[in-house]
């Protein structure tokens, strides 16, 4: 025990980078953020306590409702879609064929493209006048291809499409998960006469479920913070009918364009709550569906 408390000083010294950063750059800002979320704080004057006024304002703020529903729709569409596409691609890339490494690299390369560059590329691909996708659709006989980024009906779909381009990182995680599944399980299933779909359903998917859970949580958190891509693609025009105005963009605008720091902080805390609640829900729902193999 004496030895252990002797270690206290050493332990605190070694971990100092972390706890100093935690206190200065996380705990302090968090406390301050919570405080100013109850204040009127236009940055240039000191914060003025207004109680729950910021949170009360949220209830009547139409733009807040719009951004929250946009973000929810984006998360609700992109998370399941990404999951299904990623598992499908992982199965395809797990087939043992020549050139497997090359195919894997092709799927993965887009994920290292910076968001801003991806935004620029896809603004071109989806350009309604002379972008390749519009050209292709015209060639296939579609007279008036969608306006994509400029159309309230298609803008969200366009963003989901672009976010699918980044499916490579979950694919790599699923691939690693697939490699961990013991071959004996498949052999046993084959002996029992299970067809390929049944093997996928009863062996692959349950074995992969902890990885699915991890990926779903990461992508839910990511989807609720989506910022750089829509900011790049729709900054100059706020998006058709605000169809692509997302939560983080509204938060950013409140803080740094309207200088409503208090209101922005209230928005930030609501965002944190939403993320925590959703993560908790995913865990709850997954309890029956995730199978952990005894190590």
């Amino acid at each position: 025990m004496a030895r252990r408390s002797n270690n206290l000083l050493a332990g605190l010294l070694w971990t100092a980078p972390w706890w100093l950063g935690f206190l200065l750059l996380l705990a302090l800002p968090l406390a301050f953020s919570l405080y100013i979320s109850f204040c009127d704080y236009p940055m240039l004057q000191p914060p003025l306590w207004v109680g729950g006024a910021n949170y009360a304002e949220l209830v009547h703020d139409g733009v807040f409702h719009k951004t929250i529903s946009n973000t929810a729709v984006f998360a609700a569409v992109s998370v399941p879609l990404t999951t299904v596409v990623a598992i499908g691609l992982a199965l395809l890339l797990n087939l043992s064929v020549k050139g497997q490494a090359f195919f894997r690299a092709c799927i993965f390369v887009p994920t290292i493209v910076p968001m801003v560059a991806a935004g620029a590329i896809w603004m071109w691909m989806l350009n309604p006048d002379f972008g390749p996708i519009a050209n292709l659709m015209r060639a296939m006989g579609v007279d008036r291809p969608p306006l994509w980024l400029d159309s309230p009906d298609w803008a969200m779909g366009a963003l989901v499409l672009v976010s699918l381009w980044f499916v490579g990182s979950p694919v790599v995680i699923y691939l690693a998960g697939l490699q961990e599944i013991p071959e004996e399980l498949y052999e046993a299933a084959r002996m029992d006469g299970a067809s390929a779909p049944r093997r996928f359903w009863h062996v692959t998917l349950p074995s992969l479920s902890p990885v699915v859970l991890f990926n779903v949580i990461i992508s839910v958190i990511g989807a609720w913070q989506v910022f750089a891509l829509p900011y790049m693609m729709w900054r100059t025009r706020p998006g058709p009918d605000r169809a692509t105005y997302f939560y983080s963009m509204y938060l950013f605008d409140n803080a740094f364009n309207y200088l409503k720091m208090g209101y922005a902080s209230a928005l930030a805390w609501i965002q944190l709550l939403i993320i925590l609640v959703l993560t908790g829900l995913v865990f709850l729902v997954s309890r029956r569906m995730v199978h952990y193999r005894a190590a």
């Binding site: 332990g11 070694w14 935690f22 953020s33 690693a176 961990e180 910022f227 944190l272």
Partner: protein
């Protein structure tokens, strides 16, 4: 035992090759298109053919910015809306700024994360478990929640409009990297250090001479992801930088795109190509570390 499906033969091999080729092409097409447009002269940009008929380097000349000095207009905290058109993209300058942030933050990130991770992995001190639990919990907190107060802190320090806020925080490490390195350090047999300590090696020199050299794979993963994150970051530069002389590549490209009027597509694509090339090169060099990094963070995270 690795699970390798049996080699495919016959029709199923053909079908899977076809599927793999189509999918791979779909993922690469946007990049190929970007590269092709970047070599097109302005009059060819709107034409449907993909390959430039008269390839030109002029879009690159316009954005590379070598020798040209960026003439910026000061912008206040209101930021984006007030920015005025101040000349095109300046790759040389923005790449330099981005590299400064990458290098300065990378050194701090690696050192601090490794030191703290060693503390959590090897020193048995009272409160260690609780502190590590807090460290893990902080990973859940999204940046926007602390964005405003963090901005205030840096404003008090007089750092707004400098590159400091973009690299200095890295010197406190990051919870995620500390976690990653701690897991790795835990896997290194203690005997190695103990025998070094018997030889009179202190903790500090053990860390430098035994632990760090054995951890290069994990350190490489941390470094790679850090470089990518800095290269990618738009929100940070958007908040803290106000002068075009300090723009990073991300902010510069966003700015180039946001300038009103019709965007010179070939220049935008040339700038995007130049921005992507270094990270793609990094990926090709360090492909194994990348894949392993994602796989392990994903599985053990």
């Amino acid at each position: 035992m690795k699970n390798q499906a049996p080699k495919l033969r016959g029709p199923s091999a053909i079908v899977s090759y076809a599927a793999l080729s189509v999918v791979s092409l779909l993922f690469l097409v946007p990049l190929i298109w970007m590269a092709c447009i970047s070599f097109k002269p302005a009059r060819e940009v709107g034409l449907p053919h993909i390959l430039p008929k008269e390839p030109t380097l002029s879009p690159y000349a316009a954005v590379i910015g070598a020798g040209a000095s960026a003439s910026g207009v000061r912008v206040d905290a209101k930021g984006e809306t007030e920015r005025r058109e101040t000349g095109a993209f300046n790759y040389a300058l923005y790449a330099r700024n981005t590299l400064i942030i990458v290098v300065l933050s990378l050194i701090g990130m690696i050192l601090s994360s490794a030191i703290a991770a060693y503390g959590f992995a090897r020193i048995d001190f009272p409160g260690r478990r609780a502190m590590f639990a807090v460290c893990l919990a902080t990973m859940m907190i999204p940046f926007p929640v602390i964005m405003v107060p963090t901005y205030m802190i840096f404003r008090e320090l007089g750092w707004i409009g400098t590159l400091m806020p973009l690299w200095a925080p890295a010197w406190f490490g990051s919870a995620f990297n500390i976690f990653l390195l701690r897991q790795f350090f835990m896997g290194i047999p203690r005997d190695l250090e103990e025998s070094a300590m018997l030889d009179g090696c202190g903790r500090w020199s053990c860390f430098w001479r035994v632990i760090l050299p054995l951890s290069t794979p994990a350190l490489a993963v941390v470094a790679l992801f850090h470089v990518l994150a800095v290269w990618n970051d738009l929100l940070g530069p958007l908040i803290y930088l106000s002068h075009q002389d300090q723009f990073t590549l991300s902010l510069g490209l966003q700015f180039l795109q946001s300038r009103s009027g019709d965007t010179p597509w070939n220049q935008l694509m040339a700038a995007a190509t130049l921005m992507i090339l270094p990270v793609v090169a990094l990926f090709l060099i360090a492909q194994r570390s990348f894949i392993r990094g994602i796989a392990t963070t994903g599985l053990k995270g």
